[in-house]
């Protein structure tokens, strides 16, 4: 294991470690507040257009597969649990469980992104459901749209909301996977287990936030329009 000079536990601008942690946490929550407003713009326009074109949004939702949305939700909830356990392991100074939980979180996050791109989005592409690339619903998809009596251009609008909202969410997942990779390397080098767990906790806050965004995306995109 490579040995470097250990960084000081408390940076010189802080009085003590409690103040340092509070400052980091405050800064992270401010960042998450800006993220709430960033996604908020998308949710506000979603609400607006869903209220204007309810039939198109209902029809569009039926073009998505509930099984994908539900499994992503379960994967993200599992990854939030492993992330919380990773922070706890770091606090208690347990290096091996810390690395183990971080790797589990990374695997769940990577699986989410890979399943979404390789299967769900590729499937949508094959079914010609991607506005701007190839939007010409056929067969069963076209029947669903006709059943709801929704104009094709409005359904395309729903699909744009779906791709942009889940796409930006997936981008956040990719960033999270990158951060986790960094944490795993640093944890392997012996960091985070002697009171310096702050970085792990901050990445944890980010990860849980991305989980919360999906908690809203799942029912709003995959479950509307009456599945009965």
């Amino acid at each position: 294991m490579p040995e470097g000079p250990a960084p000081a536990l408390v940076a010189e601008q802080f009085d003590d470690i409690i103040q340092q942690r509070d400052a980091a946490s405050f800064g992270m929550w401010i960042f998450l507040a800006t993220e709430i407003l960033f996604f908020g713009g998308l949710f506000a326009s979603y609400a607006l257009y869903r209220s204007l074109y309810p039939a198109a949004f209902a029809a569009g939702s039926h073009l998505l597969k509930v099984a994908y949305g539900a499994s992503y939700t379960v994967m993200l909830i599992c990854s939030s649990l492993t992330m919380a356990m990773a922070v706890r392991s770091a606090q208690l100074g347990r290096r091996k469980p810390l690395i183990g939980f971080l790797v589990l979180t990374l695997l769940l996050g990577a699986a989410f992104v890979i399943i979404k791109l390789r299967w769900e989005w590729y499937g949508d592409y094959l079914e010609h459901l991607v506005p701007g690339v190839s939007f010409a619903p056929q067969g069963e998809a076209l029947e669903v749209i006709r059943r709801f009596g929704a104009p094709l251009s409005h359904v395309a609008l729903f699909m744009i909301f779906y791709f942009v909202m889940t796409g930006i969410h997936a981008l956040h997942m990719v960033v999270g996977v990158g951060l986790l990779t960094f944490l795993i390397i640093m944890a392997y080098r012996g960091r985070f287990v002697s009171g310096d767990f702050n970085t792990v906790e901050m990445v944890g806050l980010y990860w849980h936030f991305v989980d919360i965004v999906w908690i809203f995306l799942f029912p709003l995109l995959y479950l509307i329009g009456g599945r009965y």
Binding site: W29, G40, A44, L48, M85, D211
Partner: protein
Amino acid sequence: MPDHSLTGHVVPSRVYILTFVALIVLTVLTTGVAYIDLGYFNTVVALVIAVSKATCVVLFFMGLKYHKGLTRIVIIAALLWLSFLIVLTLADMHSRDWAPLPQPWQKAALSEPHR
């Protein structure tokens, strides 16, 4: 009060596991309820469940329950501005037809339908 200077506030694993179980149960519930016809209330129930899930994550996984006032102020401010964003946007769009347009605007509005 124990000294948290080195470990911070360590939450018992049991709390995390119970939060996890609650989140899974609520996910099953929100998926199941989408297959039951409640009319308008399908959306209401879905949002109530989503907000409950988010609250579980924020309180326990993100540790808000153990944080001081400053963090709460940040979250309340963010949610307040989020509500302005959504409520004012919808209020504007859906109140446009409430009052008749002034005469000179009517021609322009007719030639450019907004919905």
